[in-house]
């Protein structure tokens, strides 16, 4: 069942997110260069890591779907990408706010990190319309899986390409030299990242459980009323059966 462990995860998420925010405002020192506005970093960067990780997860589940034919993996892939898109919106919004405060502009078009994230976001924004455009559930799942795999593979490639780009005003956090964050900032960042991962997994399972319950209910209705009486299934971007 998809809802297993949801209660424990929910409690862990609330504790971790509250703890992370407490560390951000009560423990981590103000940045010497940017001052108080750098507190956005502890929200923006973990959100971006989790959103990009979610897109990659979507690709991994899509591979599993193509290998096994198990529609459960298609549902997992769909929900991971759907949730990553929502968190991606958060990344773009918090990033814009941070950019305005630090650089004086809401968006900087010649900054590779910003533009590359936008490209990834817009790429995956096509995932739902693609699914919706295909009527046959089997074909929908297969095409969406191929899209998710290509998109998922694009995320690390994109990350590497940005790293290789020379003109960077965007601060580097995960560097080969280990970065230059002091201990308190590093701990706060790590706790924030773990909290975001936990929140993502909780919401992912929450949506999976909801979608699964909805599917089972629909199947039960059709079984009781008969396929003819229930009428044709409405077209939807979400998987309709497992």
């Amino acid at each position: 069942m998809f809802g297993r462990g949801l209660q424990t995860l929910s409690i862990a998420s609330v504790v971790l997110v509250t703890g992370a925010f407490a560390l951000v405002f009560l423990y981590a020192p103000n940045d010497a260069d940017q001052g108080f506005v750098q507190k956005i970093f502890y929200l923006h960067v973990p959100l971006a890591i989790v959103a990009l990780g979610g897109f990659v997860d979507g690709g991994v589940f899509a591979i599993q779907y193509l290998r096994t034919g198990d529609r459960g993996h298609d549902l997992r892939s769909y929900v991971a990408i759907h949730l990553s898109l929502i968190l991606g919106l958060g990344v773009l919004a918090t990033g814009s706010i941070w950019a305005k405060a630090s650089w004086g502009a809401w968006w900087v078009w010649d900054e590779p990190t910003l533009v590359s994230f936008l490209i990834v976001f817009l790429l995956f924004a096509c995932y739902q319309p693609l699914r919706f455009s295909i009527d046959d559930p089997e074909r929908q799942a297969r095409y969406a899986a191929v899209f998710a795999i290509i998109g998922g593979a694009f995320v690390p490639l994109n990350f590497l390409a940005v790293r290789l780009a020379e003109s960077l005003i965007h601060p580097r956090v995960l560097s080969t030299t280990g970065g230059s964050m002091p201990g308190e900032m590093r701990l706060t960042f790590l706790v924030s990242t773990v909290a975001m991962v936990c929140l993502f997994v909780t919401l992912w399972k929450y949506e999976l459980a909801s979608k699964h319950a909805s599917m089972r209910l629909r199947a039960l209705k059709r079984a009781l009323a008969g396929d003819d009486a229930a009428g044709p299934l409405a077209r939807t971007a979400a998987p309709t059966q497992i």
């Binding site: 940017q34 001052g35 706010i97 305005k100 909801s210 209910l217």
Partner: protein, 73 residues
């Protein structure tokens, strides 16, 4: 750009965290509305099953009555 003073940086930081909070709350609200719909459909389904069961029981009773009337004493 030089670091913003606290009174200028505060609204930006608060804005970013409120955007995150709003996003999560909207998501949870949408999921809650879906849950309410599932619950409503489940109640409808349970009523439908109950109705069918009652109809079947009533038909069974009518059949029994007809059989008992048809059988000569």
């Amino acid at each position: 750009m030089p670091a913003l003073p606290l009174d200028e940086a505060g609204p930006y930081v608060a804005g970013a965290y409120l955007v995150f909070l709003a996003l999560i709350l909207i998501y949870v609200a949408i999921m809650a509305s879906k849950l309410v719909r599932i619950e409503r459909e489940l109640v409808e389904l349970a009523d439908h099953v109950e109705g069918r069961r009652a109809a079947a029981a009533s038909a069974e009773e009518t059949h029994q009555a007809e059989v008992s009337e048809a059988v000569p004493r």
